[in-house]
Symmetry: C2
Subunit: 116 residues, 2 copies
DNA sequence: TTGACATGACACCAAAAGGTGTCATATGGT
DNA sequence: ACCATATGACACCTTTTGGTGTCATGTCAA
């Protein structure tokens, strides 16, 4: 589960793969179709799709001689939910409380030097 | 801006950096303090912090001879918002509409072969 | 069965990533 | 001034990563 998050983030770390994901928002694609839309070798595309599949961001279904890649909302949602861990921090009201109550180390430093 | 998203995702692609981010949720840290909490060389930690800073996920403030790394909610929020692009897909009601209306390629394939 | 067509499976490569160690520099306190 | 502390800046190394090309395999249709 946690390992899956690692794979998901790894998959999202490449701009080509993010572009493929966004393309898959509009239509499911076979490997060859992805090759046609992106200027890449079939081997390269296959690798990207494998990594996206390992990251649980797409599902691949073999239909005849084609392998259709399809966006996987579950995986994307999992990654999006990872950010909930930090959500307090961009909730402004909680934000100030957070810094006031918990941030002992920086408070001390701020007392010593006021140029923050 | 788009480049920044690339940097953010790159930064998030490494588990050590994600761990550092989560630690920074609890307290701001100097480089040395990060070194003490994670079993890494100072040089390695510095690289990670630089990448996190490039990804706009932390801000670094020089205080005296220390460089304090602090979580940057703005950057995290930006990345989280990137996922809004896909949010239709995990909204179940919109989801079915999406597939029914737009997914022509797979529809055709499904008509040819019913083992989906 | 035979030939396209869509892939799978490798071997190979250059560049980037993650780490380590060493030497130089700046800041604070005594 | 002087020394310990916290970094900055490199040079160097190994493993991954993103890509390419080639050959084998499976599937559909004539």
């Amino acid at each position: 589960m946690n390992q899956s998050v690692q794979h998901s983030f790894r998959a999202l770390g490449d701009s080509t793969r993010r572009a493929i994901l966004m393309q898959l928002c509009e239509e499911d694609l076979s490997i060859t179709e992805v090759v046609e839309k992106f200027e890449l070798t079939r081997t390269a595309v296959r690798k990207h799709l494998t990594i996206l599949e390992e990251g649980n961001l797409i599902t691949v279904t073999a239909i005849g001689k084609e392998r259709i890649s399809k966006l996987n909302p579950e995986g994307l949602k999992s990654v999006a939910e990872w950010f909930d861990f930090f959500s307090h921090f961009w909730d402004s009201s909680l934000n100030s409380l957070k810094y006031a109550a918990e941030n002992e180390a920086l408070k001390q430093l701020n007392e010593r030097s006021k140029n923050d």
